[in-house]
Amino acid sequence: MSGAFLKLDALRVYFSVSGGWLKPARKLKAVDGVSLEIAPGEALGIVGESGCGKSTLARAILQLVDVTAGQVVWLGRPIESLTVRQMRPLRASMQIVFQDPLASLNPRMTVGEIVAEPLRVHRADLSREQRQTEVAQMLERVGLSRDQINRYPHEFSGGQCQRIGIARAMILKPKLLVCDEPVSALDVSIQAQIINLLEDLKRESGTSILFVSHNLAVVRRLCERVLVLYLGKTMELAPSAALFGAPLHPYTRGLLASVPIPDPDLQPARLETSLTGELPSPLAPPSGCVFRTRCEFAIERCTVEVPVLEQLPDNRQIACHRWQELQLKA
């Protein structure tokens, strides 16, 4: 394919937050200049703490929130300024799976109607029966029985609801599947089922996946590359093996150290090496490097100078003044 599959160029999404009675509205920079490319069939993970802008970034790609500045290029065509009507046909090629499986399904519709809805919109050529056949096949594909087609969402467990959500998203065979924390709301024993399902779907359909999650262990399993966001800015972007094997950014390191491991010999010590402090308010981000207030390696330079995103040879990008020194130390 010539041209970009999915390309973000200095994407910015700002929200205005009213400051209250007679106070001026303030700008919340949810996504602040993110650039990246996704190749066909690639799975990219977006990680960061809640409030770092990862869900907003995903929704901006799908044009579910307004882009303030920058470009979203989808299949070679900039889409950020398209009207709702112009955007509609493109939606068939990009779909989303949500965090809360039950809330993302209309309680008044049967499973069959829910999964068939994208077909009604984009495949008007199909007859009712053809639609039903496709829906039944899709339900079986995601591990549900076709007998369940006439049931309502509340008759299913969380894991099953998430399968229905995945079936709805995959029925048009999209080129890009955005997953917004798809397993966080599920029981532990069910998470693995859904992760395995997504792994299978990705392998068989060749769909690109944008996987938004705060669970780094899940991202590590599913994604080839990972983007680490902090206050709407890219901290580090690297292939999974490199990022999890040798993280360069202090924030990435801190995040990795915070992930609990079910090993009583390792975990107690890990607890003490976790990130300190909390995410500052995105309404008043720190000057210079946004991460400096929680960075144990911050120096004078970090408070005054915004680090540029450096392109490293092995397909990595990093935004840190001191990454080279720190790498030597480690």
Binding site: V188, S189, R220, P260, I261, P262, P264, L266, G277, L279
Partner: protein
């Protein structure tokens, strides 16, 4: 052996049952636990496993239609069926609990400092002046940054992590001997989760306080628990030391949980072994071993006869065919 330990909390054959129009719901069935001073017990289970219900029963905080049976003794004093007034004095003073969502446990229209101080005024007969001064110290102990300013803030002005620290400060106000933490970090980011867990661990050490940590995450348990009890369908299916359970589990459910968790330290190409089926509903009791519909190897005996909890390799296991040591050594 047990007599040498000084148990802070002893739970014996605790059951919680609800009668509903749809039939009886057995939320907790015959749970026995002992928690010693300065010890942390991790209580692990999926939603509906009965882990919260069991400890809400101990706190006397269940809905009025709950039928509670069994015993729960705090330093030898019976809690179940105790006089509500006596129980209220005990709660907050000797026995404290923190929850997953601190926002619902904090009064939205009262500043944080006064909410902490109120506990001291009520339980310790302090004056409001003394209590407010003490509140500052408690916030500092809960490692709340900028504690003096926080005293005059409202809960909604704080982050989720800060609110949980405030809850911890309130819980600590009267030096409880036992703290129950119900999914205290589930709503928080991993970074803040680690901070809260290490805070709980330090407080436990410094004060010799016992801690019951209710969670669904075995990784959380690994960080600070000494003992672990795994609950399934309202019953304990396995309990023992944290090392035994996480390194060498005997019950197939514990083993399956460990194998189904994506781990940041495991090789990526290792397949994730999912547990099939759905977590059981307390509304639909399962004959025989409650785990048998999801168990990889469940002979017919498991479908008819419920295994009793018995002692195997220094742990308690409720399984007819517990995993032997050698087998588990291979998989881990």
């Amino acid at each position: 052996m047990t007599s040498a330990r000084s148990n802070v909390l002893e739970i014996e054959s605790l059951s919680v049952r609800y009668e509903t129009p749809d039939g009886a719901v057995q939320a907790v069935a015959d749970i026995s636990l002992e928690i010693a001073a300065g010890e942390c017990i991790g209580v692990v289970g999926e939603s509906g496993a009965g882990k919260s219900q069991a400890f809400l029963a101990v706190m006397g905080l269940l809905a009025p239609n709950a039928q509670v049976a069994g015993d729960a003794r705090l330093r030898g004093r019976e809690l179940l069926g105790a006089d509500p007034r006596a129980l209220r004095d005990l709660r907050g003073a000797e026995l404290a609990m923190i929850f997953q969502d601190p926002m619902t446990s904090l009064a939205p229209h009262i500043v944080v400092g006064d909410q902490i101080a109120e506990v001291l005024v009520v339980h310790k007969n302090m004056s409001w002046r003394e209590a407010r001064a003490q509140a500052l110290q408690l916030l500092e102990q809960a490692q709340v940054t900028d504690a003096a300013r926080r005293l005059t803030q409202y809960p909604h002005e704080l982050s989720g992590g800060m609110r949980q620290r405030v809850m911890i400060a309130i819980a600590l106000a009267c030096d409880p001997v036992m703290l129950i933490a119900d999914e205290p970090t589930t709503a928080l980011d991993v970074s803040v989760q680690a901070q809260i867990l290490s805070l709980l661990k330090r407080l436990m050490r410094e004060r010799g306080m016992a801690l019951a940590l209710i969670t669904h995450d075995l990784g959380v348990v690994a960080g600070l628990a000494d003992q672990v009890a795994v609950l399934y369908a309202g019953r304990i299916v396995e309990s023992g030391s944290v090392r035994k359970l996480l390194k060498n589990p005997s019950h197939p459910y514990t083993a399956a949980l460990l194998r189904s968790m994506p781990r940041i330290d495991a090789p990526v190409d290792e397949p994730l072994v999912a547990i099939g089926g759905q977590p059981p509903s307390p509304r639909q009791p399962i004959a025989g071993c409650p785990f048998h519909p999801r168990c990889a190897a469940a002979p017919s005996r498991c479908t008819t006869e419920r295994p009793e909890l018995r002692r195997i390799d220094g742990a308690q296991v409720a399984c007819h065919f517990p995993r032997s040591n050698s087998a588990s050594a291979i998989t881990l």
